[in-house]
Amino acid sequence: MRGAPLSMTVLRPQSAEEAVSLFADNPSAKPLAGGTDYMVLWNMGGANGQCLLDLSGVKEWRTIRKTAAGLSIGALVTHAELRDDPVLRREFPLLARAAAVVGAEQIQNRGTLGGNIANASPAADTFPALAVYEATVKTVSRKGTRSLPLLQTFSGVKKTNLEPGELITAIDIPYLPKRPHRQLFRKVGTRAAMAISKTVAAALVWLERDRTVCELRFALGSMAPTVRRLKAAEEFVKGKRLTAEVAAVACELLKNDVSPIDDIRSTAEYRLRVSRNLLSDFLLS
């Protein structure tokens, strides 16, 4: 344990308004939600001397709200709450399933969706689901509020386009226009729990009456510095029947939108092959 509590300053706002104001006055402060990634850093002494903005007192951002357009998930909603929420499970099952495989139950109990987004890990399990649901990230700062499409929220590995003093308030997910014909969530981790994804996929497909593709949405995590939608493959299959030939071309196009790497957890070769298998199986099943 190398964390030095005495070297740290902790700001404890009790409302959203106070949080925004304290953050504006202390733009170098690190916002703390569930702390599941932060505590690892803290334990190694990586947060010594830092200023911390503890958001646990901000109750406004802890609920899932139903709106006319969809669901608005407060930034401080935990993965356990996402996993168990009946409306989310019915309307956005891929996100509920993704939340259920984040770390393990202990992590799900503490980790929040807003914290997960702010942490911007390329391997975050919920991002592919949020990407196919075309979620929007809502933020607030002293300058006002903003809405960022999920894919434009991330700028690189562990990097976001959030500005100093800007906090995530909610993640909005619009209802789907119709039920998809098929959907997929699949995490491929290093082990059965407490695992970081090697590749993680979420997908939705709508078919026309003549079995041609109306729309495909396919997103992958851990395959690039940020979560990616497979734009080229999605575009290609549109209006086509899902034959073996079409699927094979879509699988070839997959690599246009990703850039997998070799690292401690896996290899680029494996990530690509398995992602293609998942795409192919989804298109042809």
């Binding site: 344990m1 030095a4 690892v40 002494g45 010594n48 491929v188 082990r191 407490m194 290899t267 494996y270």
Partner: protein
């Protein structure tokens, strides 16, 4: 005649340490609040090989608030005495591996101690490092002696040339196994202080109090009675706390001596994994001659192990690996050559199995290859060659009793429905519509219990049972309960020998001031060797009780009465016994010939698994194992040991990979050093086989290590059954299956 008291052994009584551990009241070393204590941190080398040129302390840092201990402060030997004297307590000059300790810094605030390390700059003159068995063997750089070899062995039986010339078929194979981290739940930690009379006391998380004691006597140049080593409740060790605690104890005690204050030195996980010992990586080559009906005729085996930078117990690990290298199979002509080499990585050391998981992995996969070459089932091949009573082993040892190899094998394949599963899986795999490939694999192994050869005679372990005046009975032994349940087992053995309820018996804390030297808690020897000593000591007490009172007390009141009589004014009456070498055991250490072990335990395993056809993820579905341990003193604990060891071995086979680059372990945290979780743990059917050993307590022989020895080859053979790919190296990960599929251009 009194009615015989009900049996205390062979039943799964609740662990004696369970209430404390379940309620969180068991005190691990960092739970002790020590007033005024300094928290210590260790400055370590950052290069693999070279010399320290200069150490500079940041002049702007408030060093007066810190205590610092350096090599120059050591009153005695700057060496951690173990088997050899090559490992310094603190580095003065020569750097042999990264993470080698240089100096110790202490402060009342733990975070400040770590902070101080950032304000010390070390300049080095680097030399070429050696990181692999191959480069060390090629003497790319000389790290030690003439040849970089810590130790080598040769075992010869029969005539190898004759064996190969009679063979119908010769099969060759090369196998490779990696480092493995012990991953005990509690990190290393020691507290040290100096008593008013000058006695240096250390208490901590450790496996072998007398090893630490022996090292500290030399380091501090004090008489043995002025060094006291106390075992705290220890959260697992698996061999990892056999030798390294001697360094930590030396560091903590040195700083305590220098500062005059108590010192706590507790490693965090990152430091623990990066700095302390691992299982030895190994390369093992097999050349086997067989007849066409599947009889082994010649085994030529070469074993290379990577010892890391210092000797630690590498020679002994190699010895055990060498002695088990043939597998539990009889062969008339055998040669085993082995050596352990120096590299510039932190020293490798003891880990459950102690060389055997490495050589059994190779031996068992070799059996699979031979069976495949003969077009014979590997089960049948094992049946035709496995050890039985009367077998002469590679060292010329005749097995006279307690050989459960074929009993384990037959029970295991029957319970696993092995033949049926093979056929069922072949049908499943032939159907392209199935989501997985299924496979089942088999392995058989032996494990010699106790120290090798004359080791137990040299150790001459002692243990005692003491009757206290106030009516308590205490078991006195330095054998530690590090989570395996030794305390419970000892209690049951003493209760059985005394014919007394287990609740009347307590275990003394392993404290060198209170207990005799029972040798180390290693080598699957604790139940068999120390248990037998406790049985003998308890029998002596029982005889005394019978002599003076005519019966054995059955409750506290009666025991108190008897104790007053027997103690006769003294505070306690102690019955201490020492290990006695059986007359018929002979061992030649030069020729490596004779009775390598008093007895062997045996185990067979069948592993069923599925490989996902889309993701190549490997899911172990079922483990069935039968293990001959002589006698299960506590069957619940025995099965727990087997399940735990099996899971540790499944991690070795499928997940665990220490990413060493530049002599450093780069993934020294559990985020990326991936061990199995409960969600990865398959259902296990464990069957205990009891072929009693006449010299063990109630027939018991070794158990602790064997479960670690045999799952890995069974997993690899199950993966082969599922995918038809052979892997000669572990871990087998989905990435490897993927690469093979791509190479083979096999479609989905």
């Amino acid at each position: 005649m009194a009615r015989p008291s009900p049996a205390k052994i062979g039943i799964g009584i609740v662990r004696t340490d369970a209430p404390q551990k379940l309620t969180g009241t068991a005190k691990y070393i960092d739970d002790y609040k020590i007033p005024g204590c300094l928290h210590a941190a260790t400055l370590r080398t950052t290069i693999a090989h070279g010399r320290i040129k200069k150490i500079t302390f940041d002049p702007a840092f408030p060093w007066h608030q810190f205590a610092i201990a350096r090599a120059a402060d050591i009153p005695g030997l700057n060496n951690v005495l173990f088997i050899e004297n090559d490992q310094p307590l603190l580095t003065e000059d020569k750097v042999m591996h990264p993470m080698q300790p240089i100096l110790i810094v202490g402060h009342q605030d733990r975070a400040q101690a770590y902070e101080a390390l950032k304000h010390i700059a070390v300049e080095y003159a680097e030399e070429n490092p050696v990181f692999s068995i191959k480069d060390s063997l090629a003497r790319r750089q000389l790290l030690r002696g003439e040849d970089n070899i810590f130790k080598k062995f040769l075992i010869e039986k029969g005539n190898l040339d004759d064996g190969f010339s009679q063979a119908d078929l010769i099969v060759e194979g090369e196998y490779k196994v990696p480092h493995q981290e012990q991953a005990y739940i509690e990190n290393h930690g020691i507290a040290a202080w100096v008593e008013n009379d000058g006695t240096i006391v250390v208490r901590g998380s450790l496996q072998c109090p007398y090893y630490v004691h022996k090292a500290l006597v030399k380091i501090f140049n004090r008489p043995p009675e002025k060094i006291r080593v106390i075992n705290a409740v220890t959260g697992g060790a698996f061999g990892g706390k056999e030798d390294y605690p001697s360094l930590i104890a030396g560091h903590a005690a040195l700083l305590a001596l220098k500062s005059g204050k108590p010192v706590k030195l507790i490693y965090d996980r990152a430091e623990d994994m990066a700095a302390t010992t691992k299982r030895h990586p190994a390369i093992i080559k097999h050349k086997t001659g067989v007849s066409k009906n599947g009889k082994l005729l010649a085994q030529d085996i070469t074993v290379f192990m990577d010892g890391g930078a210092f000797a630690t117990c590498s020679g002994v690990v190699l010895s055990r690996g060498t002695l088990h290298a043939t597998g539990p199979y009889e062969c008339p002509n055998v040669r085993v050559r082995s050596c352990v080499l120096a590299t510039n990585t932190p020293p490798n050391g003891a880990f459950r199995g102690f060389g055997v998981p490495q050589t059994i992995f190779a031996a068992e996969l070799q059996m699979e290859k031979i069976a495949a070459a003969l077009n014979l089932s590997s089960l049948e091949l094992r049946r035709r060659n496995s050890w039985k009573v009367g077998t002469i082993t590679s060292t010329g040892q005749e097995l006279k009793e307690s050989v459960g190899a074929s009993k384990c094998l037959e029970l295991c394949v029957k319970k696993a429905r092995y033949d049926k599963k093979r056929k069922e899986y072949a049908r499943w795999n032939a159907d392209p519509g199935k989501p997985t490939w299924k496979g089942i694999g088999l392995a058989l192994c032996h494990h010699g219990a106790g120290f090798t050869g004359s080791g137990e005679t040299i150790l001459a372990s002692r243990a005692a049972v003491s009757l206290l005046k106030d009516g308590r009975i205490k078991i006195l032994t330095a054998a530690t309960d590090i989570g395996q349940g030794a305390g419970t087992i000892f209690t049951q053995i003493a209760a059985q020998a005394l014919g007394m309820p287990a609740s009347l018996i307590q275990i003394e804390i392993p404290d060198t001031a209170l207990v005799p030297n029972s040798g180390p808690t290693v080598a699957s020897r604790t139940t068999m060797v120390i248990g037998r000593l406790i049985e003998r000591a308890a029998e002596q007490l029982k005889n005394e009780l019978m002599k003076s009172t005519g019966k054995v007390p059955q409750d506290r009141t009666a025991l108190k009465k008897a104790a007053r009589l027997l103690c006769d004014g003294r505070s306690a009456k102690r019955f201490e016994v020492q290990y006695e070498k059986p007359a018929d055991i002979t061992w030649d250490d030069d020729l490596y010939h004779g009775e390598a072990y008093g007895v062997f335990s045996y185990a067979a395993i069948a592993v069923s698994l599925e490989v996902d056809r889309l993701t190549y993820e490997i899911k172990v579905r079922k483990v069935t194992t039968a293990q001959d341990i002589g006698k299960a003193i506590n069957p619940t604990l025995a099965k727990g040991q087997i399940m735990g060891g099996t899971n540790q071995a499944l991690g070795y086979a499928l997940l665990e990979y220490a990413d060493f680059r530049g002599g450093w372990m780069r993934n020294s945290q559990f985020t990326n050093y991936v061990i199995p979780t409960f969600a990865d743990t398959p259902p296990m059917d464990v069957f205990l086989v009891e072929e009693p050993y006449s010299r063990g307590p109630y027939g018991a022989k070794g158990l602790g290590e064997m479960p670690m020895d045999l799952p890995a080859p069974a997993v690899v053979s199950a993966v082969h059954d599922a995918t038809s790919f052979w892997f000669n190296e572990i871990p087998v990960r989905p990435e490897h299956i993927c690469s093979e599929l791509i190479k083979a251009q096999r479609p989905l």
